[in-house]
């Protein structure tokens, strides 16, 4: 006896799209209102497909809108109305308009006084947009931590146990020791990939496939709440995989805010890592790009990397081990975390002072150049000279290096062809053109060690002889190269609640922008909160605006300007 599907025995779900379509029928049609009419039963599966597509589209629009949002933007501010009797002090700078000098503003949290910093130029944008933290607070939140999948060889992945996700968000897949990146079978080509199935943070069931084209750390597109299955395809059996909530195992961190744009209009991801510069006793922040030009790839940097520039980090002395790097996308900040606290650096490549290099004489027929104008401390800078008019070669030449002395002045050296440096007083630096006798010139290639930060200017000077007059004259060409060193915007200590001698074993940022520190042999993570103690004053309305919450605030003039 066949069973008939009826309203009584079927949990019949109708899509709202179904009714929308049916509403186009004439009002007299029964199909418009009878859920078990043939028309409705035929339309309903199609309507569900349309509904799903609509929902996915709406969801992806919302995702796109929210994923580009800067999570660090303030959403709450606090204000204090000052009594009318309080008088702001006028600034002693004589201008036609009345200008005030900012008072001292102090916030109190549990009777601990915190001195606030005035926003630059009392400007609302620098008040809300200043992203340099002024204080580290212990959130009091610490969790026991384990990777979702600890390092496992690919062949034992199916039997490996998965841990819960401790902090919901993106996942990082680290692949090591894989050697085969392309499998060919008949006319097909297969590439390795890792597939993660689970529930996203906003609670939809999804499967994400991450292509793996090199050893490195890859970030998932989705944010996750739970993972039910991790599979791999076409990885070597001996390759090891780790999946975790934080990129603790990543050798390089992606700069999510910037792409490196080549002259051919190709865009590449930029990556950063921190290394110790043995020449300079500085830590260097190294920027690389991936030489595999494929933006469809997940974010990773493996064996194919090119160093773009390195920044020496001032204010941070070498420690027994490398500090930890956390990148911030909005804006470009690097948080360098060591055993006692955190230093914040603006990692945009600083602009050198171009005025230190003079423009070449238009009649100059000599040139000096290099492939690289941003160099790393301790690197060998390479140069080549060029003579544009070989009919009249110079009979002498010399190279002078001008470097900053660190106190606003300059130090000068003659550079020998062997890369040696000589002080100006010891010699006049001239080198004889060895082919002068046969009236020829051979371009010189030389290199020397970069031992000074800042703007280095190399001057190439040639001495010519005018045969018609018998007089000599010189021509100069200059090349500036830059060895950048950046100072910390601020250095903050860990709060007192961190026990003495607290040494983090790793640091990383979660998907909401919070910084977590790893400790206890990699088994505990604790969250720190960055605070921004800035104020801006509305002198007209006598109101002080602040970005953090304080129990009490005090506005006063403890100093008087004369």
């Amino acid at each position: 006896m066949p069973v008939v599907l009826t309203a009584e025995n079927t949990p019949y779900k109708r899509s709202w799209v179904c009714q929308r379509i049916l509403n186009n029928l004439p009002s007299s049609e029964n199909a418009r209102r009878l859920p078990f009419s043939i028309a409705q039963q035929l339309l309903n599966p199609i309507a569900f497909s349309v509904q799903n597509t609509y929902q996915q589209l709406a969801q992806s629009i919302l995702n796109a809108k929210t994923s580009s949002f800067n999570m660090n933007l303030p959403s709450d501010i606090w204000s204090l109305d000052i009594s009318d009797s309080f008088e702001f002090q006028e600034s002693s700078l004589a201008t036609e308009d009345t200008t005030y000098s900012a008072p001292d503003v102090t916030g109190y949290i549990d009777s601990t006084a915190i001195s606030l910093t005035a926003a630059t130029d009392n400007d609302i944008e620098s008040f809300t947009g200043n992203t340099i933290p002024t204080r580290i607070e212990d959130s009091g939140v610490s969790k026991s931590y384990s990777p979702v999948l600890d390092f496992t060889t690919a062949d034992s992945l199916s039997s490996a146990s998965l841990s819960d996700i401790v902090v919901y968000g993106h996942l990082y897949i680290t692949v090591k020791d894989n050697t085969t990146w392309r499998h060919e079978f008949q006319e097909y080509v297969y590439y390795p990939k890792v597939r993660i199935t689970g529930e996203t943070r906003k609670r939809t069931e999804v499967t994400e496939e991450v292509p793996i084209q090199q050893n490195g750390t890859f970030k998932t597109v989705n944010q996750w709440r739970s993972v039910s299955k991790i599979e791999h395809y076409y990885l070597d059996d001996s390759a090891s995989i780790c999946v975790e909530s934080f990129p603790f195992n990543a050798e390089y961190l992606v700069d999510e805010n910037n792409l490196y744009v080549l002259s051919q209009d190709t865009e590449l991801f930029q990556y950063f890592d921190i290394s110790e510069n043995e020449e300079a006793f500085y830590f260097d922040l190294d920027c690389y790009v991936d030489t595999i030009d494929d933006l469809n790839m997940a974010q990773a940097l493996g064996n194919h990397k090119d160093n773009i520039f390195s920044l020496s980090l001032d204010n941070i002395s070498p420690w027994s081990s490398l500090p930890y790097l956390v990148m911030s996308s909005f804006p470009n900040l690097a948080y360098i975390i060591n055993n006692s606290g955190m230093s914040v650096y603006d990692i945009r490549l600083p602009l050198p002072d171009n005025s230190l290099v003079s423009e070449d004489d238009p009649e100059s027929n000599i040139d000096i150049y290099s492939d690289k104008w941003v160099v790393k401390y301790g690197e060998n800078a390479k140069f080549t000279t060029r003579l544009l008019d070989h009919t009249n070669p110079p009979f002498r030449y010399r190279m002078k290096l001008t470097v900053p002395d660190g106190f606003g002045g300059f130090v000068y050296y003659w550079i020998g062809l062997d890369g040696s440096k000589h002080s100006l007083g010891s010699t006049n630096g001239w080198i004889q053109n060895e082919r002068w006798d046969i009236s020829e010139w051979e371009d010189k290639h030389f290199s020397f060690l970069v031992e000074d930060h800042g703007e280095n200017v190399l001057t190439f000077e040639c001495l010519f002889s005018d045969e018609s007059t018998g007089q000599t004259y010189t021509r100069k060409s200059q090349f500036m190269f830059y060895c950048p060193k950046i100072a910390a915007e601020t250095s903050l200590n860990f709060p007192d609640t961190f026990s003495w001698g607290y040494e983090p074993e790793g640091a990383a940022k979660d998907s909401d922008g919070n910084i977590w520190l790893l400790s206890d042999s990699g088994t505990v993570i604790r969250k720190i909160i960055l605070r921004y103690d800035y104020f801006v004053i509305d002198y007209e309305r006598k109101r002080v605006w602040v970005r953090e919450e304080y129990d009490k605030m005090k506005v006063s003039y403890n100093t008087i300007m004369i």
Binding site: M1, P74, S75, D76, S101, V544, M561
Partner: protein, 315 residues
């Protein structure tokens, strides 16, 4: 300003000072504008991270006029996103198949019904019926409900570790493990994996007569026309490749069944299961059961409704 140069500075004690308590003000940022597009407002003191999750929830748990969607909308607007509360699974034998013949779990407004054998032909063997909505009482807490489900032979339940176990069970969102899939495809191959798993016995209907789908067997098909259904994983195996592509409409269950919770709950007075909880059941002299006298909770609700709505009696 500190950056301006001054001739000199000297310090004296407070010449003028004001102390006070700052007032909180909301500062709109880009996320508020995006949220405005989906009619979500930020809660007081709500962080960007939490607010973003609430904005994204709009498409995951949409609001609307049906009971569940009213719950979705209210819960989201009030800042109580749906949380996973319970996971109910079937007890399996050594082969990985459910021990129950054809299990189904149905969450209603006032009770959960665990069927050990439910089929569309009217067969409905109830393993357990747990009435968790208790009038004039706290009713079942989640842990009570889980204990009760776990005492069943055929089902197990676990509480999500992130939520309190002493929540009222009537705050669970109504769910049914049963689902119908219309017109899943059967391709021209020997084994067809269907979209759904935990298929319901006697609830599988092929779209057309097929020579390859004549007789269901419980072993590997050994002759043409025989087919084997794996009810647990949801697959159909035939003796040979299916000659003509076909469709199948089938009932199946979703296990493990995940039940959400939110502090916001909506009950319908048109729902018999809920109305059961508002009236005292009496048996008349004639032997007929009647529910005409509201209990304490029922009276309160009805008084409130009469007060709030403009009821006109008569014609």
């Amino acid at each position: 300003m500190p950056s301006k140069s001054k001739s000199f500075i000297f310090k004296i004690s407070d010449i003028s000072a004001y102390e006070g308590t700052p007032t909180h003000r909301h500062f709109e940022n880009e996320l508020d504008y995006s949220a405005d597009l989906v009619s979500i407002e930020r809660m007081p003191n709500e962080s960007n991270a939490d607010f973003k999750q609430r904005v994204l929830d709009v498409n995951v748990h949409p609001g609307g006029p049906t009971e569940t969607r009213v719950i979705n909308g209210l819960a989201r607007d009030l800042g109580f996103l749906r949380e996973l509360a319970l996971t109910i699974d079937v007890v399996k034998d050594a082969n990985g198949d459910p021990t129950a013949a054809s299990p189904r779990v149905l969450f209603l407004a006032n009770r959960v019904i665990l069927y050990s054998d439910w089929r569309p032909d009217g067969t409905a063997v109830v393993d357990k019926e747990i009435r968790f909505y208790q009038p004039d009482d706290d009713g079942f807490y989640l842990n009570d409900l889980v204990d009760e489900i776990n005492s069943s032979t055929y089902f197990t339940a676990t509480i999500n570790g992130d939520i309190r176990s002493n929540l009222h069970s009537f705050l669970l969102i109504r769910e049914d493990s049963l689902n119908v899939i219309f017109s899943d495809f059967i391709d021209s191959k020997k084994k067809n994996d269907l979209v759904g798993s935990y298929l319901v016995k006697d609830g599988i209907f092929f779209g057309a007569e097929s020579v390859d789908l004549q007789e269901e067997v419980t072993f590997d098909p050994s002759s043409s026309g025989e087919y084997l259904i794996d009810y647990t994983s949801g697959s159909i195996t035939t003796y040979e490749d299916v000659a003509v592509e076909n469709t199948v409409t089938y009932y199946h269950n979703i296990f493990p069944l995940k039940i959400d919770y939110t502090p916001i709950q909506v009950f319908s007075l048109g729902d018999d299961n809920f109305v059961d909880e508002l009236f005292v059941q009496e048996t008349l002299q004639s032997g007929e059961d009647t529910k005409t006298l509201p209990n304490t909770e029922g009276s309160e609700i009805y008084h409130q409704l009469f007060k709030e709505t403009n009821n006109l009696w008569g014609k």
